[in-house]
């Protein structure tokens, strides 16, 4: 039987098990929007294509399934690009479908024609241009397989309008079976020997664990080895924050105990992480005296930045289960790490009547269950979430790690709510970031999506202000947001409930009310503009040279024996590269 390309696309998405598509229509993609009227899955009309791509990303992260977004040619497609790049840098499985001008017009500078294939080449795992409907079965099958297999990533399918309109005889495309790759036994034996001999081993968990659904294997590994464990931003929740061996996040805004452990270890087992500069600080001093075992599915990550002693390329869960063993000789090391953990535990006794964001986030995590999704924007508030919300499950925390996309939080929370309708979906945003995709409040209203928004308002671009204060001699440039709109009124104009608080004694009741509210709601929280994120590893410095900044409060000392504010002086003239 013959079908149009557009009808085939809808049927194919349904066969792939797609539940929801996020998108925005326009000229070149109209045949597909026509066919969508009969689609068995939902379409969510976001109010900007960037919102559609980021919602698909949030859906994928929260569910583990491929997120799907679509847009028209030209400006629709270019508006998707930030969301596609966001998925690319965090290896998120996504299929993005764009309409393209009709094939005879491609290359003629037609209305709304841009070379989307060319524009997106650097930010996709792969992309396709379809000009014949008969190519659709193969291309769409491959797009979904590529998006999800191995190291996941976004795949873009650009489809000429005539390929959607014209009919064709469907010949189903069968993909060859996937072959799971596993590490060789001889390499594993060498890795086991290194582990058995280590006196100070550390497990360094990365986002690849979440992507490959290897959380249970990691938890078993930690329970059997009782190895001190640190995590990247993207692996928060893999090992629950309550686990005795968990030392917290490493890196630029990591915990002292995590950074000290990595600095001092003699064996670092890196699992599904990629030695990102935000995690390592000065690379030459990162685990400088350690042997390194690197487990990853992507061979291109091995020795990319840090030379490894042994690499285990293949399925993470398989490698971990063959590597694990009880470690009898590391009692002293465990004690040292746990002593550090106790000594550097977070403190929430900030003086004053104002609201202290870290404390609020810690309270929030005590009030929410382990299913709750927390999506963040980018800035100080994002780092406070990573530090102070105690994640216990891997897909709870949705954050733009690689690209650091302001505006991620609200669309991602929408995606998460479609992935997991029963769970709370909470956005933690800043007064800068929220404005980047504020239009998606209309999406909340239209579909009755009960996303909760906690908006930390410090009247500045806080993270930029912090860097200007510390690394640009307090020369503040273009960070003032004191003319923000009245956010509660903005929300109300979109039909969303809203409330403002500015005193610490209001927090508990306001959070309770926010969580109890059956509809979407925005909680506008005023915080101090001068509050900074601590600890902080200055750019270009080793992680062990963290600044603390809390002189007078707890007087902690960094490894260099200086406290934060003294150490800051040593940074004069240094660039925040």
């Amino acid at each position: 039987m013959k079908v149009s390309g557009a009808r085939y696309i809808v049927n194919h998405l349904a066969e792939q098990g797609v539940e929801v598509v996020f998108g925005y229509p326009g000229g070149a993609i109209m045949p597909l929007y026509d066919a969508l009227i009969e689609a068995p899955f939902k379409h969510v009309l976001t109010r900007h294509e960037q919102g559609a791509a980021l919602a698909a990303d949030g859906y994928a992260r929260a569910s583990g399934r491929v997120g799907v977004c679509m847009a028209t040619s030209g400006p629709g497609a270019t508006n998707l690009v930030t969301g596609i790049a966001n998925a690319f840098l965090d290896s998120i499985p996504m299929v993005a479908i764009t309409g393209q001008v009709a094939s005879p017009l491609i290359g003629t500078d037609a209305f709304q024609e841009v070379d989307v294939l060319g524009i997106t080449l650097p930010v996709v795992k792969h992309n396709f241009l379809v000009t014949e409907p008969s190519e659709l079965p193969r291309v769409l099958s491959e797009a979904f397989r590529l998006a999800g297999e191995g190291r996941p990533g976004p795949v873009l399918v650009d489809i000429a309008k005539d390929a959607m309109i014209n009919e064709f005889e469907v010949v189903p495309h069968h993909l060859p079976e996937d072959r799971a790759e596993i590490a060789s036994q001889s390499t594993l034996e060498r890795a086991r020997q290194l582990l058995a001999e280590a006196k100070k081993p550390v497990l360094y968990c990365g986002g690849g664990i979440v992507l490959s659904e290897s959380t249970e294997a990691v938890r078993r590994f930690v329970d059997i080895t009782q190895i001190p464990t640190v995590s990247t931003l993207k692996a928060l929740g893999v090992v629950p924050a309550s686990h005795p061996m968990w030392l917290g996040m490493l890196g630029m805004h990591g915990t002292k105990q995590a950074n000290f452990a990595v600095h001092d270890c003699d064996l670092l087992i890196c699992v599904g992480a990629r030695f990102d500069d935000r995690a390592t600080g000065k690379l030459a001093e990162f685990a400088a005296n350690a042997s390194i075992i690197h487990l990853d599915i992507d061979p291109a990550e091995i020795n990319k930045l840090k030379q490894t002693t042994i690499s285990l390329i293949g399925d993470l869960a398989d490698s971990l289960s063959r590597l694990q063993m009880p470690l009898h000789n590391i009692d002293e090391w465990r004690e040292e790490c746990l002593e550090n953990k106790m000594q550097h535990a977070w403190r929430y006794d900030a003086p004053g009547k104002g609201i202290y964001a870290p404390k609020l986030l810690n309270q929030l995590s005590q009030m929410c269950d382990s299913q709750t999704h927390i999506s963040c924007d980018v800035g100080q508030h994002q780092m406070w979430v990573a530090q102070h919300y105690r994640f216990s499950q891997p897909r709870q925390h949705l954050t733009s790690g690689g690209l650091g996309t302001m505006g991620y939080g609200l669309p991602a929370a929408i995606g998460a709510k479609y992935a997991n309708p029963e769970a709370h979906s909470i956005v933690v945003s800043g007064d800068g970031s929220i404005m980047m995709n504020i239009q998606e409040l209309a999406t909340l209203k239209r579909y009755g999506i009960p996303v909760k928004i906690i908006l930390f308002d410090n009247q500045v671009l806080g993270m930029v202000r912090q860097w200007q204060e510390l690394f640009f001699a307090e020369r503040y440039s273009e960070i003032d947001l004191s003319d923000n709109p009245e956010f509660t009124q903005v929300a109300q104009a979109f039909g969303i409930k809203a409330r403002y608080i500015d005193r610490a004694d209001q927090v508990e009741e306001a959070l309770e009310a926010l969580l109890a509210e059956p509809e979407a709601m925005l909680l506008h929280v005023k915080i101090d503009a001068k509050e900074n994120v601590w600890p902080l590893v200055p750019p270009g410095k080793a992680n062990a040279a963290m600044l603390d900044g809390k002189k007078g409060l707890d007087g902690e000392k960094g490894l260099d024996g200086k406290n934060g504010l003294d150490a800051k002086k040593g940074l004069d003239g240094e660039n925040a590269a």
């Binding site: 294939l117 060319g118 080449l121 650097p122 795992k125 792969h126 992309n127 396709f128 241009l129 590529l146 297999e149 191995g150 996937d178 072959r179 790759e181 992507d298 061979p299 291109a300 091995i302 020795n303 990319k304 390329i313």
Partner: protein, 83 residues
């Protein structure tokens, strides 16, 4: 700077030559020479390159490109393409 030559076989598919050349540029290598021939449904390319990051770093990135079938170094070491 390390100078080296690699030989690539790739399916003739959308933008494959652009993908290869983009990867070369973005990963920090300079193109010093290039030959391209069509053999049936495949391209064979010989690239002469210079870069400070050395050959294996680039080879691994090129092997990730979906339509690249194999990358062989001038020294005849065949890099096995992994999924």
């Amino acid at each position: 700077m390390i100078n080296f030559t690699i030989y690539i076989e790739a399916k003739i598919q959308d933008a494959i030559v652009e993908r290869i050349l983009r990867t070369v540029r973005h990963r920090g290598y300079q193109l010093r020479g290039m030959e391209l021939a069509v053999h049936g449904a495949a391209y064979s390319m010989t690239l002469t390159l210079a870069g400070t990051r050395g050959e294996p770093y680039l080879v691994k990135q090129l092997e990730k490109l979906v339509d690249v079938e194999s990358v062989t170094s001038q020294s005849e070491v065949k890099y096995a393409k992994t999924a």
